[in-house]
């Protein structure tokens, strides 16, 4: 990739979203690796708006993404219920990159009703 920095105008457009999708990709690929343009972006003055409290954004996000109040119980029950031996072996095999035979050895007990 060429080391061509996007102009300040293009960077400003990227910030506000007034930019073509194709250009967005190019700009973002550049921004992935260019610390200099990251600094340039930071130096671009934000639009003069009423300043919001630093924690306001976090609170708003927490509100719109709020989990169900009984999430922990539901997850715990759900995980426990899902652990049929077959599913579990698949998950373990996937995680460890192990074969099913190796995975079988990782289990405390054999699969008592599904052996073939």
């Amino acid at each position: 990739m060429k080391l061509r920095h996007p102009s300040k105008a293009v960077l400003r457009d990227w910030l506000t979203g007034e930019i073509e999708p194709d250009t967005t990709d190019t700009v973002e690929r550049h921004l992935d690796t260019c610390a200099r343009c990251a600094a340039t972006l930071e130096a671009i003055e934000p639009a003069p708006e009423t300043p919001v409290a630093p924690e306001a954004l976090g609170s708003a996000l927490a509100i719109v993404l709020a989990p169900p109040s009984d999430l922990a119980q539901r997850l715990e029950a759900g995980v426990t219920a899902r652990l049929s031996s077959r599913q579990m072996m698949e998950v373990v095999a996937d995680l460890f990159g192990a074969g099913m035979e190796t995975t079988r050895l990782l289990m405390i007990e054999g699969d008592d009703d599904d052996d073939s």
């Binding site: 306001a56 996000l61 719109v64 993404l65 119980q73 426990t80 031996s85």
Partner: protein
Amino acid sequence: MRPAALLPSIQRQRRGSARPVTVAEPAAPVPAAADPAVLHRLVVEHGDAVYRLALSVVRDRALAEDIAQETMMKAWLALPTLRDQGSLRSWVLRIANNTAISTLRARRAIAVDPHELPEAEAPVERSVESRVQSDAVVSEFVAALDTLDELSRTIVVLREVEGLSYDEIAAVLNVPLPTVKTRLLRARRRLSSTLKEWA
């Protein structure tokens, strides 16, 4: 033993009880490391953060819960392989992000119209807390959130809600540091402009 037949009764039994109930007849053998107390800690300490991260990627509450469940199962089973227990939170969030991304990819692959799924309106469902805000104000914020790509949403949530450092975010999401900084900057500016009306 018929695990499938057991599931509804287990779920009924568990629903509404504050503490985990020991299932009398386990549906499956459990690996040595899978201690129920460890699962309990995982879901209590990291469940909410995992769910928020998943929801910021997929924007569908039911799907986010499925992803959270799968994440917790993977984390619980793989925990013994984690050498540095101090990095537990980052590690769990990394599993959650990978699970959410692959779920989203799978969904997009089967969707007729790639822009059709997942449902974008889901986060507008009101939580109890959000009812103090007017619908219009919340909708404007959600709309601004939806103009961002998944990666940017995830970055801003990990920073502003979970309080992760830039380096931690880069590690969790497996993206370069400048990406974290620039996406965060843009997300903050776009979202903050809709926050003036928030009480």
